[in-house]
């Protein structure tokens, strides 16, 4: 049975629909991320769960109880905000203990729990400092401790790492996941960062224009995108446009070169316009299997990303990006040199239903 149930939630503002029929069932202890671009409705959905927004239709049920109309201070959900939202007038210990004090817990219990939480976030010695005396990463850890101190039924995180720099972001996201696993707390995480969603989540809900595009595990979302939007939004993708040559063989022509797709061209007719997508990691500069595709072009750009070198190869109208591991003993490809790229038939994702060209 679902622990948190979002049933047919809709949210309309004056002229716009922010959330359109969102359905989701979250099991106890699950980590679910809402992923999508700005304005896709992910934060609004989270705010509806928290009680800060009232849905225009639909229901939120927590552990079988309908909490749709319950005020936010009676929902018992912990929330972590992008801007930390620590109370500037209170010390770190007072911030962490605020929820417990509001709940009129005994002072000894508050002190014990605050200590426990500060130890959990590895800041046991900073209880007497004020928020402004802490770095951004430390403040966000305190915000997490404050939300967890009240032992909420669900933990909600609204882009908690967006305001932090890259290194701290990675460290803190690992810490969030480890704490979540340790406490086995049901967690809803909102982000526009696909890497964050892929690395943290048990399941990802990809949203676009208020609608759910796909719900699945990170593996499913990345490797089997259900819609062109998911394919384009999650991960880096090269989109190649051409036309269908022989639908029976799955053959297409892109910039005058034949490419064969293992699936996706069923029902297409020769001459139909078509778009296919390829992930950078499935394309290589070395020879692939015999049944694989090969295309010849010119190296247009080379980006050194540390452990990975991303190469962009241009054909005529289309370009393709591919990743190679950085090998210090070999020099990377040079701009302008001819290149042959290889990729398997199974790696070709037919994005759009072919239309007569």
């Amino acid at each position: 049975m679902a622990f948190l149930e979002i049933a047919n939630i809709q949210k309309r503002f004056a002229l716009t629909t922010a959330v359109e029929r969102v359905d989701l069932e979250v099991t106890r202890g699950e980590f679910v991320s809402f992923l999508g671009p700005s304005g896709c409705g992910k934060s609004t959905t989270l705010r509806i769960i928290a009680g800060f927004e009232t849905p225009s239709a639909g229901a939120i049920r927590l552990d079988g109880v309908d909490i749709t109309r319950r005020p936010p201070n009676q929902r018992h959900v912990g929330m972590v905000f992008q801007s930390y939202a620590l109370f500037p007038n209170m010390t770190i210990a007072q911030n962490v203990g605020f929820g417990l004090k509001v709940a009129k817990k005994p002072a000894a219990e508050i002190a014990r729990r605050v200590e426990e939480m500060l130890t959990l976030i590895k800041l046991p010695a900073l209880g007497q400092r004020y928020p402004y005396q802490l770095s951004g990463g430390q403040q966000q850890r305190v915000a997490l401790a404050r939300a967890l101190a009240i032992q909420p039924q669900v933990l909600l995180l609204d882009e908690p790492l967006s305001a932090l720099d890259a290194k701290i972001r990675v460290a803190l996201r690992n810490e969030i996941r480890s704490i979540q696993r340790k406490l086995d707390i049901t967690t809803i995480y909102v982000t526009h960062d696909q890497e964050e969603a892929l690395s943290l989540s048990d399941r990802i809900v990809v949203m676009n224009e208020g609608r759910v595009e796909q719900i699945g595990t990170p593996f499913e979302i990345y490797n089997a995108p259900a819609t062109p939007f998911v394919a384009a939004f999650v991960g880096t993708l090269s989109i190649l446009r051409g036309h269908v040559a022989d639908p029976a063989r799955g053959a297409l022509v892109i910039d005058g070169q034949e490419v064969v797709a293992a699936r996706g061209l069923e029902g297409a007719r020769a001459g139909d316009a078509c778009a296919v997508a390829l992930r950078p990691e499935v394309v290589s500069l070395e020879g692939a299997a015999e049944d694989g595709n090969r295309m010849q072009g010119t190296v247009e750009d080379v980006n050194f990303l540390g452990s990975i070198v991303r190469v962009r190869v241009r054909f005529t109208d289309n370009t393709i990006s591919l990743d190679t591991f950085n090998n210090p003993r070999l020099s990377p490809p040079q701009r302008g040199q001819p290149a042959t790229v290889h990729f398997s038939r199974n790696a070709v994702l037919v994005l759009e239903a072919p239309t007569a060209g």
Binding site: F81, F87, A103, Y132, A143
Partner: protein, 262 residues
């Protein structure tokens, strides 16, 4: 020194002279009570006058009451406007500005028409009720300063997120307002409070027309009948105002958590 800097210094010097010369003149005059030498006699006379202590005590009491009513009225209003009704902000700002453009005498005549002893709410019927009416009129008079000060303070903090954070931790509205919002706009509220104090201490029109023993009418009365004492009283009034401004600075500096984040 460049030409621009020289002009800036000259303008500053002009401003300082414009402000301080009359003040120094008043101070110097207030010390000339005794012929041929400077003395504090005018101050001694004023400070020993039982009417001075009575009127300053009365005005101080009313100022404190005005501040209390003003804070209770303005802080929740400005908070709610910022949080839930931002579209109403221009309307509320317009209303709070009205006391600056409508003369105090118009307000008093309005009050007298509405609350005279034969009206449905005879607030001028007794001294205590008139004090209440005077306090309310002072709240109106100080509204532009109190509202602006509090509104500026609220704009400096993320009211919405702090409120939502407190709500998610189980806090009710009263807890949010008293333990989260108010402490974080403390400096702004203090600024509004001291401005209110300075306005009430020197206010003449309303107190005079409502016939209440406030410091403003006393100041006017002394000024009309005596020579050196009014100058001493003016200096004392300035000292009170400056002390209020100084207190804003001192108390504001010590507010925890209101330093710029690193």
């Amino acid at each position: 020194m460049t030409r621009g800097r020289l002009i800036s210094w000259l303008l500053l010097l002009f401003g300082v002279l414009y402000f301080f010369v009359p003040l120094l003149g008043t101070l110097e005059f207030s010390l000339r009570y005794l012929r041929g030498r400077y003395s504090l006699t005018a101050y001694q006379i004023v400070l020993n006058d039982p009417r001075f202590l009575a009127t300053i005590g009365y005005s101080t009491t009313l100022a404190l009451a005005t501040i209390a009513v003003g804070v209770v009225l303005v802080v929740p209003t400005a908070y709610w406007i910022q949080l839930r009704l931002p579209r109403l902000r221009p309307v509320v700002e317009f209303i709070t500005l009205l006391p600056l453009v409508i003369p105090a005498i118009v307000f008093v005549f309005g009050y007298l028409r509405l609350y005279n002893s034969s009206s449905f709410l005879p607030l001028t019927g007794s001294e205590r009720a008139t004090d209440l009416l005077l306090t309310c009129s002072y709240v109106t008079l100080a509204l532009p300063y109190m509202y602006r000060a509090v509104d500026t303070g609220l704009r400096a903090i993320d009211v919405r997120t702090l409120t939502e954070a407190a709500q998610s931790l189980g806090a009710a509205w009263s807890t949010i307002l008293l333990r989260v919002i108010l402490p974080n706009v403390r400096v702004a509220v203090l600024s509004g409070a001291f401005l209110t104090f300075a306005i009430v201490i020197g206010e003449f029109t309303m107190a005079s027309l409502l016939n209440r023993p406030a410091f403003g009418p006393y100041l006017q009365n002394i000024g009309a009948n005596r020579a050196y004492e009014p100058a001493a009283l003016a200096i004392i009034s300035f000292a009170i105002t400056w002390a209020s401004i100084g207190l804003i600075q001192v108390l504001g500096r010590g507010a925890p958590g209101q330093t710029v984040a690193r």
